[in-house]
């Protein structure tokens, strides 16, 4: 490769940490996403515990009001953008190519770029803790509160720039999975034979590429206001105070479905396995997912009923919001129908899937209550809303993702997770969850506003708040049990074999953990349940023909995704430096911009499969 000069020679066969840093393998990237998301899950959880300590009793002074603001802002931002989305991405990455019979995603290096942008963007935002200006304005950062004259520290800038970097990575991942699922399916894997998880990944990826540009615009305009003195959110220049809210929620509501649909897909894959019968109403479940996503673009203003949009707009958004309950209800009935008459096995993944259905349904019900405008006017910004979105995001998304972890851990590591510890984990988490979030409904109805850092003893909220705090610590214990189970099982768990659960989908047809090329021979799919139907139809599986591994060309590792992500993140960081010191910021911006540009060029002119590898293989033949 002529262009490959001595510095940064392409890592052809890296080992140890370099194998991970330069990887373009979707399975390794998936594991990186998962581990990073779990680390941020603990961080976000600690932030929640700090809040719960502060609120355990009236008039406590565990943290200052300012710190409390940082805690709830970073807790929300972390859990949404650094935990649930990347944890979903972890499973998209690991599973989607396996479920559709592909050897990798459509754009392996772009995939690595997505991960590094997510990691560096998260670090950039959390770096604000060290400068003492962590974001403190709530995760939806309402302008004009976040304008330069009201939020004078650089906290909002960290939030914008961190989100911007992560957003670019998320968009890249969205494109990647859309193309992968449309274009990389094995022969015979028609759209209507895809596992529901892959379907939901496709829908979520479309939501990402359609919704994220809108938040990109919203935060870019805010950044311009703060750094360059434009007037988008400046009321004194005639700006409308609702512009941010509209732009934010045009993104924000599809975002909600970006968070929940992966878990719906997970549960739709787990239930058939442990009910020993095919999913009830596959087509309706898929269509319901698509309808939910589509309607999700038309309901954003239900987050804004209290701002006074006028009765027509309010009614339209209320009706559209209630309409979403229909496809959601369809899904719940399909899940119940799947279990009906099945021989149900209560293994740990199944327990979490059942937890998902019950808790998500409660969250869905309180969601419909919010669609009733007169009721919503009373619930807005109270703990009732906090209870609602934790039932859908924690009881929904996190329970689903935990189910996925137990279910696919054997595929990822080759070892089973402990059932007994897993069931302890489930019991603790289910009880802790409900002890934490169910009483919040009552607190909300009693009028406790969200985001207050303390309250007076005579409000009558003290006992309930104490219960909530105890619940939060029960959840913390359950997460410790979860972590212990994962670490222990990865080392000494029972060997899993290819298909420990007797599941039907394609990923279970190959070794656990899979070879780096996934499928020695790209399979041909003949049904929606390839493993179940093959087993039923054939007396014994046909012997695998000998495959010469060196004839399989996998994309080679690369430095450029990592360096490009670094360049982009440092450009974002240089804006922060620029605010403090113009020359230093410009220098840093120019240097990191050059790094990014060089990385793009080197990436573009670098063949996906290193020439040495291709030539070596050719010589081998």
């Amino acid at each position: 490769m002529a262009t490959n000069i001595a510095i940064l020679r392409r890592p052809l066969d890296p080992t140890g940490a370099w194998a991970w840093i330069t990887t373009v393998d979707h399975k390794k990237i998936g594991v990186l996403y998962g581990l990073t998301a779990f680390a941020f899950f603990i961080l976000g959880g600690v932030e929640a515990l700090v809040m719960r300590l502060q609120l355990a009793q009236a008039d406590l002074n565990v943290v200052s009001a300012a710190t409390f603001n940082q805690m709830f802002t970073m807790h929300g931002t972390t859990m949404i953008f650094m935990v649930v989305m990347p944890a979903g991405a972890a499973f998209f990455n690991f599973l989607v190519p396996l479920q559709i019979g592909a050897r990798d995603v459509a754009f392996p290096r772009l995939n690595a770029l997505s991960y590094w942008l997510f990691l560096f963007g998260s670090i950039l935002m959390n770096f604000s803790f060290f400068t003492g200006s962590a974001p403190d304005m709530g995760w939806f950062a309402y302008a004009p509160l976040t304008a330069a004259n009201f939020s004078t520290s650089s906290s909002v800038d960290y939030w914008i720039l961190g989100l911007q970097v992560m957003g670019v990575g998320t968009l890249a991942a969205g494109f990647n999975f859309v193309i992968t699922i449309i274009n990389m399916r094995a022969p015979g894997m028609t759209l209507m034979r895809m596992p529901v998880f892959t379907w939901m990944t496709l829908i979520v990826s479309f939501l990402i590429i359609f919704a994220f540009p809108v938040i990109t615009v919203a935060i870019t305009l805010l950044l311009f206001d703060r750094m360059f003195g434009t007037n988008f959110y400046d009321i004194t220049a005639g700006a409308d105070p609702l512009l941010w809210q509209h732009l934010f929620w045009v993104f924000g509501h599809p975002e909600v479905y970006i968070l929940i649909l992966p878990s719906m897909g997970i549960v739709s894959d787990i239930l058939p396995t442990f009910s020993r019968k095919p999913l009830f109403g596959y087509v309706t479940i898929v269509l319901a997912g698509a309808v939910i996503a589509f309607l999700g673009f038309g309901v954003w203003a239900h987050h804004m009923f209290t701002v006074g949009m006028g009765r027509w707009a309010t009614s339209a958004f209320a009706v559209a919001t209630m309409a979403i309950a229909v496809p959601t209800g369809v899904k719940v009935f399909n899940w119940l129908g799947t279990m009906y008459g099945g021989s149900i096995q209560f293994r740990t993944p199944m327990l979490f899937a059942l937890g998902f259905i019950s808790l998500f349904m409660l969250g869905g019900l309180s969601g419909v209550m919010h669609a009733v405008v007169p009721v919503d006017l009373h619930q807005q910004d109270t703990y009732f809303v906090v209870a609602h979105f934790h039932y859908v995001l924690f009881g929904g998304s996190i329970f689903g993702l935990t189910a996925a972890t137990y279910y696919w851990f054997p595929k990822i590591t080759g070892r089973m997770m402990s059932e007994s510890i897993g069931k302890t984990h489930f019991a603790l988490m289910f009880v802790g969850f409900n002890l934490t979030f169910f009483p919040m409904h009552f607190l909300g109805v009693l009028g406790m506003p969200r985001r207050i850092y303390t309250y007076a003893p005579d409000m009558g909220w003290s006992g309930t708040n104490m219960a909530v705090t105890i619940g939060a610590f029960v959840i913390a214990v359950s997460i410790a049990v979860f972590l212990y189970n994962m670490v222990r099982s990865a080392r000494v768990g029972q060997p899993a074999g290819a298909n420990p659960w007797g599941a039907a989908t394609l990923e279970w047809s190959i070794e656990s953990p899979p070879h780096h090329y996934n499928f020695a021979i790209v399979p041909t799919i003949r049904s929606q349940h390839p493993l179940w139907d093959e087993e039923a139809n054939t007396v014994e599986p046909p012997p695998l023909p000998y495959v010469d591994e060196s004839s399989i060309h996998m994309p080679s590792p690369s430095y450029w995704p990592l360096l490009l992500a670094m360049g982009v993140t440092l450009v974002a960081g240089s804006l922060l430096v620029w605010q403090a010191h113009a020359i230093a910021g410009l220098t840093m911006g120019a240097a990191s911009g050059a790094l990014a540009l060089i990385s793009v060029y080197r990436w573009v002119f670098e063949p996906a499969v290193a020439t040495e590898v291709a030539e070596g293989a050719a010589a081998h033949h």
Partner: protein, 105 residues
């Protein structure tokens, strides 16, 4: 692989319009722009003028997308990928403008 590529290539040259057609489209685009320019200085009421300009701009848009970007001749999936978000966006824009006007109050 090479054979596949050639096949792909042949399909393309077959489907793509000729340079002559490209130039014809360019002439139409210029003429329409000129008409738009003249309409701007004409004596119309605001609503009519807005309607005509939107129509003519839409025509130019479709000509470029259909011929220069080959959507007219290409696989339907490309059109779906492009027009689906486009329609969502137009709907959201119309809704936003209605929300910020006094129409919905």
């Amino acid at each position: 692989m090479a054979a596949q590529h050639d096949l792909h290539h042949e399909e393309h040259t077959e489907k793509h319009p000729s340079p002559r057609r490209y130039i014809q489209i360019a002439v139409v685009l210029c003429v329409v722009t000129l008409i738009e320019f003249l309409i701007f200085y004409g004596n119309w009421d605001s609503a009519t003028m807005t309607g005509i300009i939107l129509l003519l701009s839409g025509l130019k848009f479709l000509l470029v997308v259909g011929y220069y970007m080959h959507l007219k001749f290409d696989n339907w999936r490309f059109s779906a990928f492009f027009f689906f978000p486009f329609i969502i966006m137009i709907s959201i824009m119309v809704a936003l403008m209605a929300l910020f006007s006094n129409l919905t109050r």
